[in-house]
């Protein structure tokens, strides 16, 4: 087995679809131009950009002029959060998010906290769910922004968006609503009108598009302060150059993901549920992190293997050509336990021993059978070595 042959870390990044590469190719060769007016080369790129915007807009039930391309999900989140807060800080300086949000949201919250804003971090329950009742209780007259991560990036929990929308509508004053849809996009239907969001971020490389492309939905009439100043070739939210090849790939990835979304989502659920059942059937002392069934995203399974440590497991799996992620401190850049798992009440050992598998349309049952068989061997071997495992 060579590196990454069985790739089960699709929430980190996913393999570009062959059709995506093909769609990008002309824009890396003969159609390398920038957007512009009146001359044929510039108009050709304008037309292409509009077409791509239309494709992304359709996938979210948005209008094409509500879609702004970015250099990825993080940039989209920054443009939205910083843009909303700088444009509206005269109306209030209180932000609400949750303890289990994606780092983009939490680091932005921390940044504004350091600059005079107040932030309320809503707690999550044992399954990672952040209730609308908690949101309701946290709202004050100064609240200006609520942000959420629709699908949790660690344990796949789907947050109650419809209930959030109702609470915000009943708040009595305008509270801007930003959603990170990085892990939700292509894994469940998303309709920006139903969601009631003002801004929403998505990323191309989580849905078999290229790395370095994303999009931000901004509801018509929503004012954002400009974050990046420079030459405005497309609009003020996306100044500077346009990487048209990446956007061509992004648009193609969206077309593929949304061609038959319900069937694709069902297939992902089948695969992830098959994986979980196999693990639970084959390996003792395993616990699922996050909710069971359709309360979690279609592609995510997060389990803790008791008595052993995650970095050792991912290393051994890696040597067998299997790529997965772990919440172990030893595998993290900051050497600390995973904050999402800790926030839902898991202890250090449960976090250190966690493994995250995320499947994709390219995952097969054979891949999963092989991965589970190897995982069973590895678990047995590491438990033999562990002083915490008492069944020696």
């Amino acid at each position: 087995m060579s590196s990454g042959e069985i790739y089960l870390d699709n929430c980190m990044t996913s393999k570009p679809a062959p059709e995506v590469l093909k769609a990008m190719q002309p824009y890396l060769t003969e159609k390398f131009w920038y957007p512009g007016s009146f001359i044929s080369t510039g108009e050709a790129i304008n037309d292409a950009l509009n077409e791509f915007k239309g494709i992304v807009a359709k996938s979210l039930a948005a209008k094409p002029n509500e879609i702004h391309f970015t250099g990825g999900g993080t940039m989209a989140n920054n443009i939205a959060i910083k843009g909303l807060l700088t444009a509206n800080s005269d109306k209030g300086t209180h932000i609400i998010c949750s303890a289990v949000d994606y780092p983009d949201l939490l680091t932005n919250a921390a940044f504004f906290e350091q600059n005079g804003f107040e932030v309320t971090y809503l707690p999550a329950d044992k399954d990672g769910l952040v209730s609308a009742a908690e949101l309701k209780a946290a709202i004050k007259p100064e609240t200006i922004l609520f942000m959420t991560t629709i699908v949790n990036h660690v344990i796949g929990t789907i947050q109650p968006m419809a209930e959030y929308r109702q609470v915000l509508a009943d708040a009595g004053h305008k509270i801007y609503f930003h959603a990170d849809a990085g892990q939700a996009y292509g894994k469940m239907p998303l309709d920006v009108n139903e969601l009631g969001v003002d801004t929403l971020s998505v990323s191309a490389h989580k849905i078999h598009g290229p790395q370095g492309a994303g999009a931000l939905f901004v509801k018509t009439g929503t004012k954002l302060g400009q974050l990046i100043h420079g030459v405005s070739r497309v609009d003020n939210l996306q100044t500077g150059g346009v990487n048209i090849a990446l956007l061509a790939g992004f648009a193609k990835a969206v077309e593929l993901a949304f061609a038959d979304l319900p069937a694709q989502v069902d297939k992902l659920y089948e695969l992830s549920e098959y994986l979980l059942t196999s693990i639970e059937k084959t390996i003792p002392h395993v616990e699922l992190n996050g909710p069971r069934g359709r309360k979690r995203a279609a592609h995510n399974i997060n389990v803790t293997m008791d008595y052993i440590e995650g970095e050792a497991m991912t290393m051994m799996l890696d040597l067998q050509g299997i790529t997965v992620a772990t919440g172990s401190a030893c595998a993290s850049q900051g050497l600390s336990a995973n904050y999402v798992l800790m926030a839902i009440g898991k202890n250090h050992m449960q976090s250190h021993g966690s493994l995250k598998f995320t499947v994709s349309r390219y995952t097969t049952r054979e891949d999963l059978d092989f991965a589970v068989a190897k995982l069973a061997e590895i678990t047995t071997e590491l438990r033999k070595r562990s002083p915490l495992y008492k069944e020696h």
Binding site: E309, A329, C330
Partner: protein, 207 residues
């Protein structure tokens, strides 16, 4: 791949792994909360004081397991006095190095070996239970690795002052506010020192 081939070999096929029946001494260091725990078992020849057998169990990452494997190799067949000289640096060298961020994982196995030897000597009346002093604190601080460079915080002169009076410990650290590893180092100091009943209060001052 940041690990050397030697680390991978010892991680995949560790030597001296397993619980020992009737050991002459054992020691367990670390805790699941810290992310790693090692137990070392010793069999010592009472006359020659040679470590005739040594084994370990490890709850930890690849670096932790590989270090426990090599350090038990290094200790086997040595006299207690020789084995007392083995440090985490010897283990690291024998493994052809470790990534800086992983060095701290190697310290635990070396520590556990030393504690097992000490436990043996105390049990056999070869030495007294060591008195707790400022030196104990400094020795513990020498086991705390600054992850960015893989060297301990005493050698790196990050410890500006250590005070110990009437159970109260004061440590002045020189780690900048924006340092990524600041919380990590502080947390590790607490983990290392809070196990000592002689310490009633621990104050860590930061710039």
């Amino acid at each position: 791949m940041q690990y050397s081939q030697k680390v991978l070999d010892h991680f995949m096929h560790p030597h001296n792994v397993g619980k020992m029946d009737n050991p002459d001494a054992t020691a367990t260091e670390g805790s699941p909360a810290c992310g790693d725990q090692v137990t070392v078992y010793l069999k010592v020849n009472e006359d020659s004081k040679v470590i005739e057998d040594v084994s370990f169990l490890s709850y930890g990452c690849a670096s932790n397991i590989a270090t426990a494997s090599i350090i038990t190799d290094l200790a086997k067949g040595k006299t207690l006095d020789e084995a007392k000289q083995i440090t985490w640096k010897d283990a690291m060298e024998a493994l052809d190095g470790l990534p800086p961020v992983k060095v701290h994982c190697s310290v635990l196995a070396a520590d556990t070996l030393q504690t097992a030897i000490s436990n043996y000597e105390i049990a056999k009346g070869l030495k007294e239970v060591p008195l707790f002093s400022k030196d104990t604190i400094v020795d513990e601080l020498k086991k705390i690795i600054y992850p960015q460079v893989g060297e301990d915080i005493v050698t790196l002169k990050m410890v500006k002052y250590v005070g110990f009076t009437d159970g109260e410990v004061i440590i002045d650290l020189n780690i900048a506010e924006f340092d990524t590893w600041r919380d990590n180092v502080v947390e590790e100091i607490r983990e290392h020192l809070e196990k000592y009943p002689d310490i009633k209060d621990l104050k860590i001052n930061l710039p």
